[in-house]
Each structure stands twice: as structure tokens, then as C-alpha cells.
Symmetry: C2
Subunit: 226 residues, 2 copies
Amino acid sequence: MKKVERRGLAGDAADRIRDAILDGTFLPGAALREVELAATLGIGRGAVREALASLEHEGLVQSEWHRGTRVTDVTPEVAEEVYTLRATIERLASTLAAQRATPAELAELDDVVDRMAAAVESGADAVDLLALDIEFHDRVYRAARHRRLSEAWLALRSSVRLCQLTRIRLGRAGYRGLVVDEHRELVELLRGTASKRLARVAEEHVLGAMTALTKDLTPEPEVQQS
Amino acid sequence: MKKVERRGLAGDAADRIRDAILDGTFLPGAALREVELAATLGIGRGAVREALASLEHEGLVQSEWHRGTRVTDVTPEVAEEVYTLRATIERLASTLAAQRATPAELAELDDVVDRMAAAVESGADAVDLLALDIEFHDRVYRAARHRRLSEAWLALRSSVRLCQLTRIRLGRAGYRGLVVDEHRELVELLRGTASKRLARVAEEHVLGAMTALTKDLTPEPEVQQS
DNA sequence: GCTCCTCCTAATGTCGACATTCGGACAAGT
DNA sequence: ACTTGTCCGAATGTCGACATTAGGAGGAGC
């Protein structure tokens, strides 16, 4: 059995607010007022404060002394920071996962990739594909069995989603079929013993995503003029 | 001019508590009671709560639902997690610093290494050497100019100090002269363009420290018997 | 003697009230 | 016209009181 996780209101509140940010209820740059959120969620301001502190630690929001909290807006610079850091961490996660993953965990990774392939085949939504992508990497980190590393991923994960979602929102996006192949290659390498190559591919997998992302996020040259 | 940093009580409280943990006022495993701390520091419980949340994010303390917060105790497992993660992050930091460091920053690194050498020469305290070691790496991260990466280091730094300090407290320790040479090599590589070699050396620099650390932290086989 | 149940205590979780701070609007001075 | 000073509204920062919970002490039942 898996132990039940008991959390306070702050944890729930953080989840709600995070979801609201990720599904576009709060757009980048929007102000998150404590009293307002407290009223909306039906909880006290203390819990909201704690939740916002969590989200700040995840990089989803930024707050300044006595100036409130607002949703981080996704600039190419932010995307570059998030993805370079993620690439580095992913390198370690893959290496560890290759050493420690059980056959069952590897099989589950296969399953996720199959579901991704099916989703691409049936022309599924880009958001659904993104969810599968993230699930894949969640499982890799779990297989790595490294508490602090998993926490680092949890902190980055929200930012990764936010980056990809704004990209999708911009209409660019287009999850190519390439994604499926890349993940399938990763699973194969996790099964093998070519740790050097695995580390390189895992890192490049993320950096490749970054390249596509920053390019799409860079605002097109304005034609309009004042 | 450098902008003044305005923080609330929580920030100050976090610093005080962190220092208290690092200088041994609160030993690993000790309970940190909110009311007690609030009374000691002369502030409200809210601020203390916020401070403890920060420290938990740094990995210095752990808290459970309705069971309070206690100082993380340094096991070889913790040390291994902290140092493997640090090695990975340091690899990126060094690579970026090599690309972005100004000549002034590199000169300051030289200065730190010189001070380390002088300290070793004059048989200084292990704690002082540790401070210089950390200052060196602080500067590397600053030169890397990567906000999220720096934050990741800030979060790990306290744990690194805690690990090293308990090691010193155990009497093992003994900062060897080797440390000076290693840092001097790092600066040279930062000046050069051999980025692959730099990445490897930076990573191994940390992993080497880990090996010494985990060995010293592993409790000696008990002779006593029940 | 062992288990289970009930209470009790000490701590954390939660909340709303009050204090502090920011930034803009507006007016006065140069 | 530009700067400077003051006021004001709205938000966050801070605090103590109250609600809830965990874990142990103690007794009843077997």
C-alpha cells in the first residue's frame, strides 16, 4: 500500500492556483492578490500566502516586497534558463534510472511511449501529448530514486509546462512525430549499458526542445508601426 | 550602485535559524518548535513558519503534517544525494562561467584561491577553509549569470555546509592541501577553452569531495555489544 | 500480561484584525 | 515646465486567538 499523504489547505490551494495558471485563468503578468484568492478559495490568507510561496519556489510566480505576486511571464530568456537547467538535471536522472530502474518501470515507460504514438496517430490535442511527455519524464525521475533530484524536477516541471503551454497558445507548437521516436530511443538506451551515449542523448533531447521553444517564443518582428 | 534588498522578518528569521543550525545550536534531529522560536526571536509565529518553509526548501530541515519541524540529520545517503546533484549542477555552472566570466571575475577567483593557499599555509581552521571554498563556488555561479541555476545552488549550499560541518565535528576532516590545487586548476580551465575537460574536472571535483565525505560520515563499526 | 479504548497535552494548522508599505494623484513651490 | 511634498487607497506584512491534530499516559476489558 502507498501511504496516504496528508497535507494542509496550503497544499490544495497551491494545486488549484497552479492549475488556474496553467489553464490560462491567470495569464502571465497577472496579479495574484491574496485577499482575492482567499475569498475565491474560501480559505484564510495565511494558507494562500504559503501556497504562493510554494509557487514562487517553482518559478511559476514572482513576488516583491509589499508589491504583491504576479505570474511569471514566459520570455525566451526564462525558457532558456529552465531548459538548460532541466537538460543538466535530466542527464543525471537518466544515468541513475538506467542503473536503478526495475523491469516493471521500464515496461511502464514503453507503455507511455505507446500511448504517445497512439495519440499522435489519432491526431490528439497538443495538450494531451504534453501531458504524456511529462508523465514519461516523471517516471524516469521516479526510477532514479533520488529524492532531491525529484524535488528539483518538481520545481522545474511547472515552468516547463508553462513554457510549452504558452507556445501552444501562440499557435506555433505542432508536436511532431519526432517526439515519439526520441522517447523510444531514450527507453532503449535506459535498457542498455551505453551510459555515455544515454547521458548525451538525454541532454540533447531537452536542449532540442529548447531550441524549438525559444524560436517559437521569440516575438515575430512587428509590422505595425506607431 | 547595488540595489538595497528589502526583506521581511521571515528572511531575517531564516538567516538566524540557519546560522543556529550551522553553528551547532540546533543539532541534527533537534525539534524546531514554532512558538519557542517565535518567542526567542521576538517575532510572530507566521514569520517563523515562513522561515521554516524556506529552510525546508533548502533541505536543512524536514517537517511533517502536525508533527513539527526538525533538523535534517546527515546520513551518508543524504550526503550522496546532495553531492551528486551538486556535481551535476556545478558542471553546468562551470561551463557557463567559462563562457561568460569577465576578467575581473576571474581575477577575484584567483584571489580567493590565494587566500585559501595562505590559510592552508598558516594552518588555519577547517571552518575558515570551508568558508573560502564556498565563496569560490559562489563566485563561479555568479559568473555563470543564470538565475535559476544560482537559486539551485543557494538551495544546496546550506546542505553542503551542514555535511562538511558535521564531518569537521566528527574530527575526521582535515582539509588537505589538495583542495588548493584543485581550485587553482579549475580557474585555469575557466580561463581556457577546453570546455569538455572543464566540465569533467568540475564534476569530479565535487564527486571527489563526496567520496571523502561519505566515507567519513559512515559510522565506524560498533565494538560495543548489547 | 496484552490489547484496545479514552482522555489529555502540547504542538501545529487556520483565521481574521491591525500595522506597514507602496505607488499614484494632486497640489505647491521654484 | 519641472521638481518636490503630501495625501490616500489598496495591497501586503505581522500578529495573537482559536481550531485541529498527533502521540502518549492511563485504565478497562479479556
